[in-house]
């Protein structure tokens, strides 16, 4: 038993050495294979991180979401109070405030202090245009449907003039952008995975070709199939290990030095995520690279390495 373990240990060392020699023997091909794999892994992990960043942004958007419910001018105070109490009864609503018509006008004038043409417009339309409103704060964007149901009830059709959906819409837009960019990322990632596999396939094919005399001789003097195959597997794993490590380093230092892109996308979340999981994440990226490499070299060996004589 000990002997067998020692033997496989010794063989592993020899296989590794042979794999390294292969890697450097066709170094230009190895560099090509490693760089294309690097691009592939960057696209794959970039897509993942982007998805995460958009999700974080959506979370931020849905935090303390304020929806304004505008009240028609001719409603009674009773109706208003009934609406208010019903809104307050929704468990997603954390706070409801009332803005009177006069307050709404004051707010508008204050906000547009430096835009005289906008203030002038108020004078033309008349001072009474601003509706009173309830500002309801929702703690969960996804639960906004329940809130909508309350204010869209028939009995309030005379009370509620309209409600603002601005942030709801922004959130929806972000969700759509997320979906399409992730889709594009997946497609491009898939294409580059294919290209990587083709290039590694050819690199291993070349390595088999340059070593064909050696392989023939190894077979004749009694090398096992696995001993002949292992260096190629090691070599292709090496592409994954090197490019995976580079990808991890690029993401880590890249995110460290990047500011928040505008303020529309929340990056603090993935920065934290990457900082906390750099080892596990890096290992996952390396593993993806190794899997791509091993599959391609297995295909190349199945096609070009004839060991059955």
């Amino acid at each position: 038993m000990m002997n067998r373990i020692r033997r496989s240990f010794v063989s592993f060392g020899r296989v590794g050495k042979s794999g390294f020699v292969n890697f450097f023997r066709n170094w230009w091909l190895s560099i090509a294979a490693t760089s294309i794999m690097l691009v592939t892994l960057l696209i794959i992990s970039g897509t993942f991180l982007f998805n995460q960043a958009i999700s974080d942004t959506l979370d931020d958007l849905s935090k303390d979401l304020t929806v304004s419910v505008y009240i028609q001018d001719d409603t009674t105070e009773e109706q208003q109070l009934q609406l208010k109490s019903e809104i307050e009864s929704d468990e997603n609503v954390t706070k409801v405030t009332f803005t009177s018509k006069a307050q709404a006008k004051r707010d508008y004038l204050e906000e547009n202090e430096f835009s005289p043409e906008l203030i002038e417009a108020v004078g033309i339309v008349g001072g009474d245009t601003f509706p009173a409103s309830f500002e309801a704060q929702l703690n969960d964007l996804t639960a906004s449907d329940g809130f909508k149901r309350i204010i869209e009830q028939d009995k309030y059709s005379d009370v509620v003039e309209s409600y603002s959906e601005e942030r709801l819409n922004t959130a929806r837009e972000f969700g759509e952008i997320q979906k399409s960019i992730v889709n594009v990322g997946l497609v491009i990632g898939g294409i580059f995975t294919g290209i990587s596999m083709l290039i590694i396939f050819n690199t291993i094919r070349m390595a088999i070709f340059t070593r064909r005399d050696e392989i023939r001789m190894m077979k004749l003097i009694g090398a096992t199939k696995n001993f002949i195959r292992a260096p190629f597997l090691f070599e292709s794993s090496l592409y994954g290990i090197i490019s995976g490590s580079l990808t991890t380093a690029i993401i880590y230092f890249g995110l460290k030095n990047i500011g928040d892109v505008a303020s529309t996308v929340t990056l603090s979340g993935i920065k934290q995520l990457v900082a906390d999981n750099i080892l596990v994440g890096g290992a996952a990226i390396v593993l993806i690279g190794v899997i791509i490499g091993v599959i391609s070299s297995l295909l190349a060996m199945a096609r070009h390495l004839r060991l059955n004589t």
Binding site: R6, D213, R216, L220, I221, G222, A223, T224, K225
Partner: protein
């Protein structure tokens, strides 16, 4: 046809008669269409594909074209035969210099095959076959690419190895060698053994 332990056998016959095929049957490069092969008690019919490498490790093989690795030194070429079996570094360090000395290449351990003469290259190939201490040494036209002087050196070396207790199977075209050896000669023609003499001379 039966070959005893420690015998020295020459296989002769015209080109295409089946000499090489006979040796390839032993190393399982070819499979027999009929008949049975038993070497050292191992029935070849019972061998599976994954036994083949282990079988080849027990039979030393010498090729006409040497089949050395050009980018490895003499020492590395010989050590390689042990490396593929998972032999320890200690065993390699112990065995390799001994066989290199046995074949008369002491002092050339660090030369590359291209720096050696044909005869010397064939010695490396023999050393590689011997380093695993096989019971049987199979040499397919080992002198085919060599000039007469080097050819003789190789034959002398094979005799020496045989004396140490290894069964040697040799195919050759060289009439002088067969006659001078004065050992068992098996003549093959059209894929059949047509003559088997204990002290044979070359006649085809």
């Amino acid at each position: 046809m039966h070959i005893e332990d420690r015998e020295f056998v020459c296989v002769i016959g015209p080109s295409g008669a089946g000499k090489s095929t006979l040796l390839k049957l032993l190393t399982r490069e070819e499979r027999p269409t009929s008949g049975k092969i038993i070497v050292g008690g191992i029935d070849y019919d019972s061998l599976s594909k994954k036994d083949i490498p282990y079988l080849r490790r027990r039979i030393g093989t010498v090729f006409q074209d040497f089949k050395l690795l050009p980018n490895k030194t003499v020492y590395e070429n010989v050590a390689f035969a042990l490396e593929i079996t998972g032999a320890s570094r200690g065993r390699i360090k112990h065995n390799v210099p001994r066989v290199i000395e046995l074949v008369g290449l002491k002092g050339k351990e660090n030369n590359f095959p291209r720096q050696l003469s044909g005869g010397e290259r064939q010695r490396v190939s023999i050393a590689r076959a011997l380093v695993r201490q096989p019971k049987v040494l199979v040499a397919d036209e080992p002198t085919g690419n060599l000039d007469p002087k080097h050819a003789w050196d190789i034959i002398k070396l094979l005799k020496k190895i045989n004396k140490h207790g290894t069964t040697v199977l040799l195919t050759t075209h060289n009439q002088d060698i067969v006659n001078a050896l004065n050992r068992r000669v098996i003549t093959v023609k059209n894929g059949r053994v047509v003559k088997d003499e204990a002290r044979g001379r070359y006649s085809v």
